[in-house]
């Protein structure tokens, strides 16, 4: 997994609540058996005017110019500013894969859906939860200033570059550690194999029907 330490990038504002993972990446693209290549179809139904297909040439499709990612001022964005309950619905990890493939490494919102939040950390994306008023202020600054950018410092737990000073954020210690170092948590868990085996021995005595072999 790609480590996340510091990131400076243009902020794009997605001003709607309850953005679900169907919206982030529609189902027809879930037929892929790969982890990459989802970027051109990120927010497909919002971004294009026609219906997307897995093998279509996206460069030929009509764009919805009302959608923020089609606005020149947000070109090259790597930080998405969002509203409540971002990433709700389906558990599809294709959602963070699509964000990552597009180039978005950080999502800032007042709240996230649990499964999406968890999936982000497995893919080097940092979801930051801030207070409603902090998010409101960032929306205002993003709309008011073309090229509005922020620096995210995960080590320090700070967002820099906003008007009114630095904004502190907190991330669970284990997730922060894995993200900072780009750690593969399967490897970490396998280091605890002896504990897992001990648990299995104990459990087998208590509930033998759970062990068919």
């Amino acid at each position: 997994m790609q480590a996340f330490t510091q990131l400076t990038g243009i902020v794009a504002p997605l001003d709607r609540a309850n953005v679900d993972t169907d919206m982030i990446i529609p189902k027809q693209f879930l037929k892929s058996i790969k982890r990459s290549g989802f970027g051109p179809n990120l927010f497909d139904e919002l971004r294009y005017l026609d219906e997307g297909q897995p093998d279509a040439d996206n460069s030929q499709r009509p764009l919805n110019m009302d959608f923020i990612l089609n606005h020149q001022r947000y070109a090259g964005t790597s930080i998405l500013l969002a509203r409540d309950n971002f990433g709700c619905g389906s558990s599809r990890e294709h959602a963070p894969w699509a964000l990552m493939d597009y180039g978005i490494r950080c999502v800032i919102a007042p709240s996230f859906a649990d499964i999406f939040y968890n999936n982000c950390f497995k893919n080097g994306i940092l979801p930051i939860t801030l207070l409603d008023e902090q998010v409101d202020a960032l929306f205002e600054q993003t709309f008011a200033n073309t090229g509005f950018a922020l620096t995210i410092d995960l080590e320090a737990g700070l967002i820099k570059g906003a008007q009114g000073g630095e904004i502190a954020f907190s991330i669970d210690a284990f997730r922060r550690h894995c993200l900072l170092h780009g750690l593969d948590d399967i490897g970490l868990t396998l280091e605890q194999a002896s504990f897992i085996k001990r648990y299995e021995e104990k459990r087998k005595a208590q509930a033998p029907w759970l062990f068919a072999d």
Partner: protein
């Protein structure tokens, strides 16, 4: 010290180790797999040279993009006309064969929607931890199991280690007292709960559903309720074990037998919250006040009783909410204050992991029996949840009832719930659907989904618009 909740008990009995930073290693007893969220996990195992930790805990079946027409299904995998869907189904078969994982392949009579198949086979049991790369895994919580959806990285993690790194959720109790009225079903109950707590109300919580309504409810009804916990934001939904649970599990193919059955039942009797258990949040509702529900918008929380009118954004004080209502009405092609019963339908879908079990089909068949689907409908689909549900329904003659009434009787799969196969809505079409998500585009590009119970979907199919099923039964 306060007693334990059901969730506390399930958590504690699966805790392998708690790290100093508070993260926990939780053991997984049952891992269900399907074709959409597993290929990248198997690929990850191969790239790292890893093998599954245990084979016997894994059970796979293709469901999301299998075709549901007889002509495609009758020739097996080669008959799948969508080339990309076919690759995914074939990839699941190959991965399961390569790693030695039990799979109910597309032509197996036990194939079906993974959340229908698990309980049906007794492969998901009380007291288990159950995970699957699908957010509707909470379904299995109906059995008194700790069940939740995971992403593909976690699918790989469970395959490789039989564990997950987790943080404990908070406890929420949703208690629904009283008796449900005639024609009001489990689906109406869960939609009413989501209407109450909102689509993010359960975020960070494990929900236990309790009270008279759930005690009286069948196992399949409980599955419908737990299935949609995620639509209220909670990854986990569950119901305590009682005699209904034990009677349901007994004799199923993967359920324990003989002395182990006796031992298991003794063990399962403890799977309920202690009387002095404390919950972080409690919601109490009166079941007798719940009416048949219909969603009018693009989020499951946008739900109202069938007798209500669609909301008007001008009556909403909160700006973000008013904008949300406005946007939903525009997408849905509805006017504020329009009666829900005036919404005309183009298609009806009866199926999905929420409502495709035998009781759901009986409920729908009872409504359409001797009646005819309205002429304004383009299509009314009935898609059983598994091959065994289909067999049972046919043994009872339900398929004949559906076909005579003008509905299509299909082969098992997820079908139009998420429209990864050919079953989908056209742009602008309204659908009365027994599925679980009414998100924009969920059932097809530009499609307009209204979530309802099987009885309400059946009634809508006959009338051609929403009606109160209580007037029909």
């Amino acid at each position: 010290m306060a007693g334990k909740t059901l969730y506390d008990k399930l958590w504690d009995s699966h805790l392998v180790r708690q790290q100093e930073d508070g993260s926990c290693l939780i053991y997984i007893d049952r891992h269900l797999l399907h074709e959409v969220t597993s290929p990248q996990a198997f690929e990850g195992l191969r790239m790292a040279g890893r093998q599954p930790w245990r084979l016997d805990t894994n059970l796979a079946t293709p469901d999301h993009n299998v075709p549901t027409t007889k002509h495609e299904r009758s020739v097996g995998v080669d008959g799948i006309e969508d080339r990309v869907s076919k690759i995914q189904v074939v990839t699941l078969d190959e991965n399961c064969d390569e790693f030695g994982i039990t799979e109910f392949k597309m032509q197996d009579e036990r194939q079906g929607i993974v959340h229908v198949v698990g309980p049906e086979q007794g492969a998901t049991l009380p007291g288990m931890t159950v995970v699957c790369g699908d957010s509707h895994t909470a379904t299995h919580g109906a059995l008194g199991a700790l069940a939740h959806g995971i992403g593909t990285s976690e699918v790989e993690h469970v395959l490789a280690t039989q564990c997950l790194i987790q943080k404990k959720s908070k406890n929420m109790l949703v208690r629904v007292d009283g008796k449900l009225g005639k024609g009001v079903t489990a689906k109406d109950v869960v939609l009413a709960i989501i209407g109450e707590i909102g689509t993010a109300g359960g975020t960070g919580y494990a929900i236990e559903f309790a009270g008279q309504v759930f005690q009286d409810m069948s196992m399949e009804g409980r599955m419908t309720v737990c299935n949609m916990a995620i639509e209220g934001g909670a990854r986990v939904g569950m119901v305590a074990v009682d005699q209904t649970t034990i009677d349901y599990v007994k004799g199923r193919p993967y359920a324990p037998k003989g002395a182990q059955w006796e031992m298991a039942v003794t063990n399962w009797q403890h799977l309920h919250s202690d009387v002095d258990a404390e919950f972080d949040h409690v919601l109490v509702m009166d079941g007798s006040l719940i009416a048949p529900q219909v969603t009018w918008g693009t989020s499951p929380e946008m739900v109202l009783p069938v007798s209500a009118n669609v909301p008007n954004p001008r009556s909403e004080k909160d700006d973000v909410k008013a904008a949300g209502i406005e946007r939903a009405l525009t997408y849905m092609g509805l006017e504020g204050d329009q009666p829900i019963t005036s919404i005309k339908l183009d298609r009806v879908f009866i199926g999905s992991c929420t409502n495709s079990r035998i009781e759901d089909l009986r409920e729908a068949a009872a409504v359409v029996k001797g009646r005819q689907v309205a002429s304004n409908l383009i299509q009314a689909l009935v898609v059983p949840g598994s091959g065994l549900v289909k067999q049972q329904a046919e043994a009872e003659g339900l398929h004949t009832t559906f076909i005579e009434a003008g509905l299509e009787w299909r082969e098992p799969g997820c079908s139009m719930c998420l429209a990864m196969n050919a079953d989908k809505l056209g742009a602008g079409e309204h659908c009365a659907s027994t599925s679980n998500r009414n998100f924009e585009g969920r059932q097809g590009f530009g499609g307009r989904t209204h979530l309802v119970s099987p009885a309400m979907a059946a009634a809508a199919a006959i009338a051609g618009h929403f009606v109160d099923v209580r007037d029909l039964v």
